[in-house]
């Protein structure tokens, strides 16, 4: 049972007659995710929110992603509600990106240098567009980046995204934010909302790049619990990277800047970080 809702293949086919070959992909606390085929949209992902889930949060994700019209962010194709045995279910359909998550790739070892730069460049391109739309993703991590067969890196799952112009959904009184420990910066961990902006995403991406370069997330590695992770995030600088690249030093500088504890020590915008990464890629003749 899923939030009291009985989802069967028959029920799905009835509710979504425009879809065929509906297969489960994943299930989380808030939603279930299916792959499917659509007559005109092709391969799609169907995200079905559990009935008791926060409609406002779901709508926020939709609003966020719809505004981030970037080359490597899945497009929202359609949305609506369906009636289940336990209430209305909010759903949306988005472009399906085939490939493997960066997490999956990492399980085979650290990234090669050029692929690492590609990861950084593509993700920063998506973050630049998000920044222009005043969207903060807030959950950049290896699980939320997909390496497609085309060697493009796609940024997915804006479930925690926030539009800086909208009121926050996380209770201000919460001591800790709704975060993935080990990737979120100090200000996001501590739920200091007025301090969360695009630079939070830069921190998380910087940590992701570090982990992809070395195979290890030093904040999480061997930590006994989230509080220990938090302590490391707030107090321990990441060791400096050393890669086999012409632009090794510049890349190490960029990651070091992105992962500074204080946000005013990080690149001021995603665009600045992107331009920096672009210069590094140009040095490597990519």
């Amino acid at each position: 049972m899923n939030g009291g809702m009985n989802i069967t293949a028959t029920w799905l086919a009835t509710q979504f007659p425009e879809l065929s070959n509906i297969q489960p992909l994943s299930r989380g606390g808030q939603k279930q995710v299916f792959s499917a085929s659509h007559a005109s949209d092709g391969e799609v992902v169907l995200k079905l929110m559990h009935p008791q889930q926060d409609v406002a949060r779901t709508t926020r994700e939709l609003v966020a992603v719809a505004q981030v019209q970037a080359a490597r962010v899945p497009a929202i194709l359609d949305q609506g509600t369906v009636q289940s045995s336990v209430g209305a279910c909010f759903w949306f359909r988005e472009q399906r990106i085939h490939g493997e998550t960066v997490r999956g790739v990492l399980q085979r070892g650290p990234f090669q240098a050029r692929q690492l730069l590609q990861l950084g460049l593509h993700t920063l391109e998506s973050l630049v567009v998000a920044e222009q739309a005043r969207i903060v993703h807030r959950d950049v991590k290896p699980e939320n980046i997909i390496l497609a067969p085309t060697d493009d890196f796609w940024l997915i799952d804006f479930g925690l995204a926030r539009h800086l112009g909208l009121e926050s959904l996380t209770a201000t009184a919460n001591v800790f934010g709704y975060v993935t420990w080990g990737y979120a910066p100090p200000e996001q961990c501590r739920n200091i909302k007025q301090e969360i902006d695009a630079r939070a995403d830069l921190f998380a991406l910087g940590v992701t790049l570090y982990e992809c370069a070395t195979g290890v997330n030093p904040f999480r590695n061997g930590a006994a619990n989230p509080l220990e992770v938090l302590k490391r995030v707030e107090n321990d600088p990441l060791p400096r990277l050393s890669l086999q690249l012409n632009a090794s030093r510049d890349f190490a500088d960029l990651v070091q800047a992105m992962t500074q504890k204080r946000r005013d020590h990080r690149p001021p915008t995603s665009k600045d970080a992107h331009d920096w990464m672009k210069d590094i890629c140009d040095q490597e003749q990519m």
Partner: protein, 401 residues
């Protein structure tokens, strides 16, 4: 990095002489030390020199002061009430008078009044914002320079510094005039955290695209070159070589009490009373205290003429000019083409000073409270932290700053 002359007691002739010798430069005028007529006369003299420039420090740090000379100036408000002053016509009037004074004096930029922040809080930030907003609304041809005046406690507080830099990112004036109180009134600051935060402020403001002039400095602030400071300001007496908020409260006549003559050894980053040079002479190591050729203005030649230094009548006047001439040369040499080169140059300066200081100390030659021996590690620590936190951004943006 440039050296500006920080005007203080008895500096009129020093300003005229040095700026003339240097072929130009900038003097920061002090209403605390100059009457309205003297301001006019001095600025006229300086601006007539080739490349001579002036700035006016309005010294509005503690406006409740009853410092006689400060209050005598036309721009000084006769009635200062904290809250209302910064929100209405009184602020406009102050800025208008200062603008007009700057225009009369021929300054190169308009240094705005800034309150001393005992802590960097919302009220102080609002005053800063209101001042800049009002100044921008005035009709003024001069570039605007925002004064940031911080108490020692505020300077040492990392969280407050972070708030300052976040807020200042929205101000974007042409430049900043940064003055930071030394902890415990000390001449050379032995708190690396204080110095690290000063460097952090300088570099953060520079990365934001503004010029940064650091006021009331001594040679310890040669480290500011690593943060890409535009200029540091220094002068003759101790009260213009460190920022002394109390000196803007006390009466004028009480200020200059102790008058000893100190010789600045630039390669040791230390100053020595002349009797210690006698010891160096008797220990046969005086020559190691001779200023390097590129820093030598000839003011201290008599000390190294072969006779007992205390017998040559090395005057206070020559000592001051020697100090400022050396410091100017050190400032010019401090800034290099990039962050790494600049930091390494300062590290080398510190290493060389450290080695010489050990040699001098072994021979009993000490600068006492002006000895840099215990300060070398302070600068090293602050520089190291700057590299860790700002190094990548400074390396990336140095040339465009």
């Amino acid at each position: 990095m440039e050296l500006y002359l920080q005007f203080g007691y008895g500096m009129m002739e020093h300003c005229r002489h040095l700026l003339s010798e240097w072929g130009g430069g900038t003097a920061v005028l002090s209403p605390r030390d100059l009457s309205a007529e003297q301001l006019q006369r001095l600025s006229s003299t300086i601006t007539k020199l080739p490349n001579g420039r002036v700035l006016l420090d309005p010294q509005f740090y503690v406006p409740h002061t009853d410092h006689e000379r400060l209050c005598s100036h036309d721009y000084w408000p006769s009635d200062y009430a904290t809250g209302a002053f910064w929100q209405g016509p009184a602020l406009t009037d102050l800025l208008t008078r200062l603008r007009d004074l700057n225009s009369t004096l021929g300054t190169q930029a308009f240094v705005l009044p800034g309150l001393l922040a005992s802590s960097i809080d919302a009220d102080w930030l609002e005053v800063q914002r209101a001042t800049l907003e009002e100044a921008n609304a005035l009709s003024c041809d001069l570039p605007l320079i925002v004064t940031i005046a911080l108490s020692a406690d505020a300077t040492r507080n990392q969280e407050q510094v972070a708030v300052l830099l976040e807020t200042a990112a929205n101000w974007k004036p042409h430049g900043y005039y940064l003055v930071c109180e030394h902890p415990n009134g000390s001449y050379l600051v032995d708190d690396p955290n204080w110095l690290a935060n000063v460097l952090d402020i300088i570099s953060g403001l520079r990365l934001g695209g503004s010029q940064v002039i650091v006021g009331y400095c001594n040679h310890q602030m040669l480290a500011a070159a690593s943060a890409n400071a535009s200029a540091i300001c220094s002068g003759t007496w101790m009260n213009v070589r460190s920022f002394p908020p109390d000196k803007f409260r006390t009466a004028y006549d009480e200020e200059i009490r102790q008058r000893a003559t100190w010789y600045y050894c630039p390669q040791a980053l230390s100053e020595y009373k002349i009797p210690f040079l006698d010891i160096a002479h008797r220990q046969k190591i005086l020559s190691s205290m001779t200023p390097p050729t590129e820093l030598d203005g000839g003011y201290a030649d008599a000390l190294f003429s072969g006779v007992q230094p205390s017998s040559v009548g090395f005057s206070e006047q020559m000592a001051f000019r020697h100090y400022l001439h050396c410091l100017r040369g050190q400032c010019a040499a401090a800034g290099k083409a990039g962050f790494d080169e600049t930091s390494e140059a300062h590290e080398q300066l510190l290493d060389a000073a450290d080695a010489l200081l050990r040699k001098l100390a072994a021979a009993g030659i000490r600068g006492q409270q002006r000895d840099f021996f215990d300060i070398v590690d302070v600068n090293r620590a602050a520089l190291s932290l700057l590299g860790s936190t700002r190094g990548p951004m400074l390396r990336r943006n140095w040339e465009s700053m």
